[in-house]
């Protein structure tokens, strides 16, 4: 049947077909290459055969369903390019990475369609990694607001806000058992030139490969639960292959470092970029040796501070003493000088007062004396004058008396003579001699005619003769005999 069919149908052999396919592919694609973006799966590498084998796939970003799959290989120069890629990106060429490859399309009669890797672009992957890293960072900030904040380009985490103890002495080191980094770190610390002592506990874990993140995390927690009073946790990595830092961009490790209650120092040996762990940690250094140097410098600063404090204390205390001695001395001399001055002043004052007392007293006494002398001289001269005056008066009086008594007597004599002549003229005898008579009634001289009645006896005295008569008649007489 087959033979009859074969005889009637125009067929070719498979190898002929594959030859045709090969020719068609060769015509269509030739030796030219294509830049292709794809994910890698089923990767295997045989160092002995120096041959990478893998599959390139494209998945639907939403449903994750395969859209395309072509197997690929790399050998010869392709291997060199992959090594370069790994060095530049820190990303091993392995499953589940998104890469930009330069490939040529090849068809092999036995192995089928294959893509031959000619080159791989590290920059594309770096960009992808950077995006992933940024996404992780954003997630860290978004999901742990109480531990991680972003301020400008800087991440502020609980851990990097912790202050180191004054001296960093108890240290937990997380490193790979086989890595030279941990040994570098310890060696640098223990051979520090200042003789500082350190107590170092090793926590060994794999520090490569993102798949070891959980193991790494467990070690970090072990440090925490050890209950030991560590001054710092140091994460080192170094020596070995300079690839695969992705574990330090792991979300969980970043979060654990950010939240860790003991300051974390990283020395990851990562010259190109900062890992997320670096950003979350308290202090990042480039290498384990630098981490150790940082710790030594920190302690050295403390020792220096202590020394300078000590020197300050010495200087300040000496200054203090000299200041106190000076002020004591100045107070002392002040007391002495002013005390002395005061005494001198008081003495002078006393002398002055004394002098003025003496002076005033003298003046007073002098004045009193003068007054007394004046007074006494007055006393002396006054009476004399009075007496003199009185004597004078008396003398004058005497003179007057002498002068006037003669006159006086003369006057008196004159008066007396006058009076005598008047009296002589007026004497009754004289009058009687002139023709006048005295009439007596009842032996009393009368001049009133009414006392004499007719018939009465009267006595008439006339010029030395008494005549007794009786009144016969009384009548009025108007003679002018006496009219002179």
């Amino acid at each position: 049947m087959a033979n009859s069919l074969a005889s009637s149908i125009n067929y070719i052999r498979l190898s002929e077909l594959s030859g045709k396919i090969n020719a068609a592919i060769d015509t269509s694609f030739g030796r030219s290459g294509f830049w292709v973006i794809a994910d890698i799966t089923n990767h295997s590498f045989r160092p002995q055969k120096k041959y990478h084998h893998f599959e390139l796939v494209e998945k639907d970003p939403d449903s994750n369903q395969l859209l395309a799959r072509i197997s690929g290989k790399a050998w010869g120069n392709g291997i060199t390019r992959i090594q370069h890629f790994e060095t530049v990106t820190g990303q091993p060429f392995t499953d589940n990475i998104n890469v930009l490859l330069y490939v040529s399309v090849q068809y092999h009669a036995v192995y089928g369609l294959q893509l031959d890797l000619l080159d791989i672009d590290p920059n594309f992957t770096l960009g992808v990694l950077a995006q992933q890293r940024q996404a992780t960072l954003d997630k860290l900030v978004a999901e742990n607001p109480e531990y991680i904040k972003k301020a400008g380009d800087v991440y502020i985490t609980k851990n990097n806000r912790l202050k180191f103890n004054a001296v960093i002495q108890r240290i937990a080191v997380i490193s790979s058992k086989t890595s030279a980094g941990g040994e570098d770190f310890k060696h640098t610390l223990q051979n520090n030139p200042f003789g500082y002592q350190f107590y170092i506990d090793d926590y060994y874990t794999a520090v490569q490969g993102e798949s070891n993140a959980d193991q790494f995390l467990k070690k970090l927690l072990e440090v925490f639960y050890s209950g030991k009073p560590y001054d710092a946790v140091v994460i080192t990595r170094g020596g070995g292959a300079q690839t695969d830092f992705l574990i330090f961009d792991n979300y969980k490790i970043g979060r654990a470092v950010a939240r860790f209650p003991i300051p974390v120092i990283t020395g990851i040996g990562h010259h190109k970029n900062e890992s997320i762990a670096d950003l979350m940690a308290n202090t990042q250094t480039k290498t384990p040796t630098k981490a150790a140097e940082f710790i030594i410098a920190h302690n050295k600063k403390y020792a220096d501070d202590m020394l300078s404090l000590q020197h300050n204390i010495v200087i300040k205390s000496q200054q203090l003493f000299s200041r106190h001695f000076q002020s004591l001395t100045s107070l002392n001399s002040l007391v002495v000088n002013h005390g002395r001055n005061m005494l001198t002043g008081k003495k002078d004052e006393l002398t002055r007062i004394n002098r003025s007392v003496i002076h005033i007293t003298r003046t007073v006494i002098f004045r009193k004396q003068t007054a007394l002398v004046n007074l006494s001289s007055q006393m002396l001269s006054g009476p004399k004058i009075i007496i003199y005056n009185r004597l004078n008066d008396i003398r004058q009086l005497v003179g007057s008396v002498k002068t006037f008594q003669v006159q006086y007597l003369r006057n008196k004599i004159g008066y007396l003579d006058h009076f005598r002549s008047v009296i002589k003229m007026m004497s009754p005898e004289n009058i009687l001699n002139k023709g006048f008579a005295i009439v007596k009634s009842r032996n009393k001289i009368t001049s009133n005619p009414d006392d004499i009645a007719i018939g009465n006896d009267i006595d008439i005295i006339l010029s030395g003769t008494q005549i007794k008569s009786t009144v016969k008649q009384k009548s009025r007489y108007d003679g002018s005999d006496f009219n002179l």
């Binding site: 200042f194 020792a303 010495v314 205390s317 003493f321 106190h324 107070l331 002040l334 007391v335 005390g339």
Partner: protein
């Protein structure tokens, strides 16, 4: 000297006496007393200061002898 006399209180008192004497607000009746007191205080302060100084110097010498400088 007073049992509870401290450097500070002694110094204060001394300064007060000095001020009184300087401003001559002190009476001559008590001047001698004051100056005597001042001299006691100066002696006290100096003694105290010197003993403290020598003590401090001793401590400083100790500090410097244990100086961890290499």
């Amino acid at each position: 000297m007073d049992q509870i006399l401290t450097y500070e209180s002694a110094y204060q008192e001394l300064a007060e006496i000095a001020r009184e004497i300087e401003t001559e607000s002190v009476s001559v009746d008590v001047l001698a007393q004051k100056v005597k007191r001042a001299s006691e205080l100066v002696t006290f302060c100096q003694t105290k200061l010197k003993s403290t100084e020598s003590e401090v110097n001793k401590i400083i010498a100790q500090m410097e002898s244990t100086d961890p400088k290499p």
